[in-house]
Symmetry: none
Subunit: 255 residues, 2 copies
């Protein structure tokens, strides 16, 4: 068996079983435990596994992402300001798509004052937040629940997103960089965001200022696919100029 085959097999097993045990794998493939550990190290650095004592657990989110419970409470003030600005960009009676980011949740809370919106989202949390808006229409994408989070991912989620066409998309990412565009920490999230972007006429990137000059693992898109950027403080003159030349409108709150 080729090394790459073994690695792929471990990766599949990990996604299926959610955990693997070093000694079992070593026996199964008839290699030493060291070899298995080296495979797991690679899978970890690629973001697919999180190693633990005695084995590894699946990690589409755990390793590279902070657990959602942590992310949810970080940069709260920034996110609240971003939400306020975003609210001004969305007219009543429009239909919008939101991703499963914690920033999007803040935006939704700010949008609740509006009348007659149609919301499509892959976030279970946004759905719950909107359960009392009886005059809106709220669609959920469905799909596989992302580990340690409240977002739906996978083929089902993406197919569902593709079947909608909306006025506005509001989404986030893990890093933005002038050379590499928008990046995210894992493939599942990145694919969902790509789908959201192509389903909307006006694409609004809502990110707090810590995301600037950061490069994460997976590319989402370039700046040609973004119409508006909303952030919490002025990213500086280079970015202003860069957005200008790329046809991106920039909004920021305060500073």
């Amino acid at each position: 068996m080729l090394a790459i085959e073994r690695k792929q097999y471990i990766k599949d097993l990990l996604q299926k079983e959610k955990k693997v045990i070093v000694s079992d794998l070593a026996q199964q493939f008839d290699v030493t435990e060291e070899t298995v550990r080296r495979d797991l190290m690679k899978l970890e650095s690629e973001g697919f596994a999180r190693r633990i004592y005695g084995g590894a657990v699946a990690s589409e989110s755990e390793n590279v992402d902070l657990p959602y419970s942590v992310r949810k409470i970080s940069n709260v003030e920034q996110k609240r300001r971003i939400a306020e600005v975003s609210e001004g960009l969305i007219p009543e009676n429009s239909n919008i798509m939101l991703d499963g980011s914690s920033t999007a949740l803040f935006v939704v809370k700010a949008l609740k004052v509006k009348k007659n919106l149609t919301v499509i989202t892959n976030s279970a949390e946004i759905v719950c937040e909107l359960s009392d808006k009886v005059f809106w229409r709220v669609f959920a994408t469905g799909g596989l629940l992302k580990e340690g989070g409240y977002a739906f991912v996978g083929a089902r989620a993406i197919d569902s997103i593709k079947s909608f066409h909306v006025d506005y998309a509001i989404f986030s990412c893990k890093g933005i960089d002038r050379a590499n565009g928008l990046t995210d920490s894992n493939d599942n999230d990145a694919e969902v965001k790509k789908a959201i972007i192509s389903a909307a006429r006006t694409k609004i990137l809502a990110i707090d200022s810590t995301k600037f000059e950061r490069v994460s693992l997976v590319e989402i898109c370039g700046f040609g696919d973004v119409d508006v950027v909303v952030t919490d403080k002025n990213p500086g003159p280079e970015w202003a100029e860069f957005f200008e030349t790329n046809g991106v409108r920039l909004y920021y709150a305060g500073d």
Copy 2:
């Protein structure tokens, strides 16, 4: 069993039972009490448990971060009992489908102690409840959010349900009656339940005893489409006989 699994399991048990006892856990996992105490120390430092003499109790802050406002649910004690019985019917490693009823939510809470389940549901509430079960697979159907509720309905939800085939379905209804079968109060819910029933091999109706002898608006199915009925008290000899002749197994808790 990996150490992290044991810790996770204790955490789940703690959420369900609200308290755990050192000596019981030691026996259950076949480790010494010292090992259990060390796990509890970690859980305490992570904020999930508060240690007490002889064991630990769930830290009360656990309920605060639930993303949805807790609805006022009627017949709580009955539903808890139904959930306990239902839990005994579902083996580990199985895949199950649950509807958006509050009874199903209780069942899910009881099921959290099990290992390796695959759950498919049209309930945003169940999804949120299961967001911390990293070793499970949780699918949401997606669809239009039902007004004033946490369930997905409509063609998208139904299509999604139809694309799955599971071992068990656990669902509820508004009324059951020997002449009219299972009935529900609106078409949307009834259609979803029909789809759930036809997607599962073993169909478990979980209803509190107030639903007996009631007829609601829309028919869901007859008794030929039900394999098991779980309720909170003995519905009486006529029902026992009726279920017997229709090949329905009856379980009830207490009374």
